[in-house]
């Protein structure tokens, strides 16, 4: 009973915080909210008992937690009524969460610095957009094909990892990201710098996602459809991430992260697992790309630059390496914060740099660090 209460209080507090953070306007409330967040994590750090109690209660009252969160997540758009801007922010948060989870397979699980997630995201988006515009394929049909194309690209991108590693591999991925961006910019069939426009909205059994959503006598902006679609996508990403993490594949990636020579010496095929990490990353990033293309209906090379990859890395580092919840928290924070700090938008890159340096110095494990695996009921 105490566990359930603690779960309910924590969950609702987190949801309330997110809501307050989204609607907060002006410097003072924003600073106050950030101070509150900082205070919460300071308390976690200072009194580990609180952290343990919260985590333990979530483990024991699993079903209560699930029920509360399903209600919160499904009902969240209703809190914003007619305001499309907030729903748009939520959709972008979810898309970035999927990308963060994708990158986490490499950066978090296996410690492979990949600066090309922006490119695989772009390949997914362009692939689906081209299929839809040229051949009139539906959203649902382009989804698997775009994912397949990006996965193949991921494999190709992973091949240099046979011969290079660490900073050299990072350079290779940066180069690949830049090449993809340049190609998208210069090819004629990708629309050049203007990109592709007029991507049709997805429809399900004739029901178009471009119309406002009417439920319970309420009318919600059309973005709400994409919020729920993104939820499906993120659920898929979480399932993929969890299943891989709790298998010998996740363990092999973790071994790779800790010590590559030792990993080889216990029989792990290091090259294969690195390439696999690239492929899984590309697969999920492409899904996010397809959703983005069909949501915004307009894509250009500049949506998929090196900066996107850097942003994603920041999200994973801030949220917590190899912690799915952490990555999602990081994605939400770093998607919302720049929106709130529009005034300083010229300094966005500087902001990311400062955040990364601060985290690497103060809390290198991220807001929610990786937890040790536990087996069985014990």
């Amino acid at each position: 009973m105490r566990a359930r209460l603690l779960v309910a209080v924590t969950s609702l507090a987190v949801a309330a915080f997110l809501w307050a953070f989204m609607v907060a306007n002006g410097v003072v409330p924003l600073v106050a909210l950030l101070a509150l967040l900082g205070g919460a994590f300071w308390a976690f750090e200072r009194y580990p008992r609180i952290e343990t109690a919260v985590i333990d209660s979530f483990r024991r009252a699993r079903w209560t937690a699930a029920a509360i969160w399903i209600l919160v997540i499904l009902g969240f758009p209703f809190l914003f009524g007619q305001n499309a801007y907030y729903i748009h922010l939520l959709v972008m948060c979810l898309i970035y969460s999927v990308l963060g989870i994708a990158l986490n397979f490499q950066l978090g699980s296996a410690n492979i610095p990949n600066f090309a997630t922006g490119a695989t995201y772009g390949i997914g988006a362009y692939c689906s957009a081209l299929l839809a515009l040229n051949w009139g394929w539906s959203f649902w049909l382009t989804l698997p094909f775009a994912a397949l194309a990006a996965t193949v690209f991921g494999f190709v991108l992973g091949l240099p990892s046979m011969r290079t590693r660490d900073s050299y591999l990072a350079l290779v991925t940066i180069a690949c990201g830049v090449i993809i961006h340049q190609l998208l910019n210069n090819f004629e069939w990708t629309g050049g710098a203007q990109g592709l426009i007029g991507i049709p909205a997805p429809a399900l059994f004739g029901y178009s996602f471009a119309q406002p959503l009417r439920v319970f006598g309420l009318t919600l902006p059309f973005q709400t459809h994409f919020y729920y679609l993104a939820l499906v996508l993120i659920a898929l990403a979480v399932v993929v991430a969890r299943r891989l993490h709790h298998s010998r594949i996740g363990l092999a990636w973790n071994a790779l992260r800790a010590d590559e020579v030792a990993a080889r010496s216990v029989g792990i095929n290091v090259v294969w697992y690195k390439v696999l990490a690239f492929a899984v990353d590309a697969f999920l990033a492409a899904f996010a790309g397809v959703l983005y293309a069909f949501y915004i209906t307009y894509i250009a090379p500049d949506n998929f630059t090196f900066l996107v990859s850097v942003t994603l890395m920041t999200m994973v580092i801030v949220g917590g390496m190899d912690n799915i919840v952490g990555v999602i928290v990081g994605a939400f924070l770093l998607t919302l914060l720049p929106e709130k700090l529009r005034v300083f938008s010229d300094y966005r890159l500087l902001f990311y740099g400062v955040v990364v340096i601060a985290f690497l110095m103060i809390r290198p494990q991220g807001l929610l660090p990786q937890r040790l695996r536990s087996y069985g009921p014990s």
Binding site: R243, L244, H246, I249, L251, A258, V261, V266, L276, Y375
Partner: protein, 260 residues
């Protein structure tokens, strides 16, 4: 030697102008413990790196269990049945003690990416089996490992780190185990305990062969049946310990420093 499970013939490795190993022949029979000794820089660790495929030899052949494994990839060699520990222990230090051994079971588990994604119950069953097997191994290896199985490997004391490395190597059920200076940094009591551990492992599986690189003469004297001495990349002796210790060339090269 016809019953050798492992044999290296004329193994040579050059780094630029430096000859780290010069036409070295080594045989190990099933169930045998072989000690490799020699001064610093004699080529002992290089020998291990050649056997485990971290370096490809510049010349010579390596055979193991009826197959020529020269130039194989490390992970294929482990799969074939050779495991090792490292001189400076190389644990997966940010993972739990138990996970280190579970990862050691990598070659005995099979789930691929599609099975992990589409058959989660199969993948979970395999991991549960691996965790149970790893727990058994930790119980047998002794020390505090079992009690500390849910702690991070980085929190272990030096002697337990070594034990954990051995446990991780044993998890793959090797036919040949390579121990690279297992007593480095250990005091006498820990060394005695380690000798006991190795004896116990041997008693469990008599057919199991070990090659141990060692500086500690006490361990060499009390364990192995045979000693190979390396000096400047050459093999200068290959005989039982009692013979080797009286060999003047060996005394000059190595033992002379400790037993004047």
């Amino acid at each position: 030697m016809s019953d050798a499970i492992f044999s290296a013939r004329e193994v040579t490795i050059r780094f630029g102008g430096l000859v780290a190993l010069d036409r070295v022949d080594i045989d190990v029979a099933a169930g045998e413990i072989l000690a490799v000794i020699g001064p610093n820089g004699a080529g002992k660790s290089t020998l291990f790196n050649v056997i485990t495929g971290i370096y490809a030899p510049s010349g010579g052949r390596v055979r193991f269990d009826g197959e020529d494994i020269t130039g194989w990839q490390t992970h294929d060699i482990v799969m074939r049945g050779i495991s090792r520990t490292f001189q400076a222990s190389r644990l997966f230090s940010d993972l739990s003690v138990l996970d280190n051994v579970v990862i050691g079971l990598h070659t005995r588990t099979t789930t691929n990416v599609f099975e992990a994604l589409c058959l989660p119950s199969r993948s979970r069953r395999e991991l549960t089996w691996a965790a149970a097997t790893a727990t058994e191994i930790l119980k047998r290896v002794g020390g505090d490992l079992y009690d500390r199985r849910y702690r991070r490997a980085s929190e272990l004391a030096q002697a337990d780190r070594r034990r954990l490395e051995i446990a991780r190597a044993l998890a793959a059920k090797p036919k040949l185990l390579l121990l690279d200076e297992p007593t480095a940094g250990m005091d006498d009591r820990d060394t005695d305990a380690l000798i006991e551990d190795i004896r116990r492992i041997k008693a469990d599986r008599p057919e199991f062969a070990i090659i141990v690189v060692e500086h500690d003469m006490r361990l060499v004297a009390s364990l192995p049946s045979r000693v190979v001495v390396l000096d400047y990349g050459r093999k200068i002796a290959d005989a039982p310990f009692d013979v080797v210790r009286r060999d003047p060339r060996v005394q000059e090269a190595y033992l002379g420093q400790t037993e004047p």
